[in-house]
Amino acid sequence: MKVYAVIPAYNEASRIGGTLFGVRPFVDGVIVVDDGSTDETAGVARESGATIIRHAINRGQGAALRTGTDAALRLGADVIVHVDADGQHDPSLIPSIIQPIKEGKTDVVFGSRFLGLLPSDMPWSRRVLLRAARSFNSLVMGIPRRVTDPQSGMRAMTREAALLVDFRQDRMAHCSEILRLVTRSRLRWLEVPIRVRYTSESLAKGQRSADALKIVWQLLIGGR
């Protein structure tokens, strides 16, 4: 089984090297989608031996993930893992995410920050917000309440699932969109615990709490 990691990266030159170093032992190939970076992201990633796909201009994390997923399919991937570039996701958890797929137990695996492994240093405001997001997802988006993490970026899916899940949200709303598409399809899915590191750096660059409103707006107007 060929396992490909897809890592969208926008101006991550300082961190992409470390992330790739951590991810490579667990996968057969790494695809970095340089989402129109203005720094050395592509160069650093190339030195680490990753396949580089470059967006001519910045299109957002969702768009980059989709491009990377399409690229993995072209390269013949059997399993595709989505990982953030900034080192938030602990790469050593990749095996536990792809294991259920390898065993043929499921088609899609979502990493959840709320299944036991305590998120290190998750700010309380983020916790409250994610709880609200979960309610929004179940009430408005029709995503089952069983899903414990509404906005997790670490997930794995089979080739067949990747071909089926047609996510079109370019920016941050893709998390909820993928959850919706998967949970409403006939694909089998489950959540496994993951751990996320919140550093001051990743919090500064990552999503702001106010982005929640943007995500809601994108989900509501971004029809098919």
């Binding site: 989608v33 396949t51 299109r59 768009a63 072209r74 390269l75 370019d170 107007i221």
Partner: protein
């Protein structure tokens, strides 16, 4: 009144530009007609403000001016929403183009 003169002259100008663009093929005849109707209605409202009161009373609004205000707010909201949707569509198409370009040189491998 001065305001009427200013508004009517801008409407005449708008009407002129609309039909000029139509003859140039920039907008379709149907669009031009649609815009013209809008300009003419605006002209009637400016020259005969009391007509709006009749319409307003029909809808249960007291003053014609209030009715025009309400109607324009609703119209503007609608237009802004339409622009949002258009922009969203344009953004998606832009992404499609960027993606196609990004994947252009990636060889397609047979999946066994």
């Amino acid at each position: 009144m001065l305001i009427q003169i200013v508004l009517i002259s801008s409407l005449v100008l708008a009407l002129y530009v609309t039909w000029r663009r139509a003859t140039q093929g920039v907008i379709s005849w149907r669009e031009a007609l649609g815009w013209s109707v809008l300009w003419v209605i605006a002209g009637v409202i400016i020259l005969l403000p009391q007509t709006t009161t009749t319409v307003a009373n029909f809808f249960g609004v007291g003053r014609g001016v209030d009715f025009v205000l309400y109607a324009s707010v609703v119209t503007l909201f609608f237009l802004v929403f339409k622009i949002f949707l258009t922009l969203d569509r344009v953004e998606r198409r832009l992404t499609d183009v960027v993606r196609k370009d990004a994947l252009k040189e990636l060889p397609e491998q047979k999946h066994e």
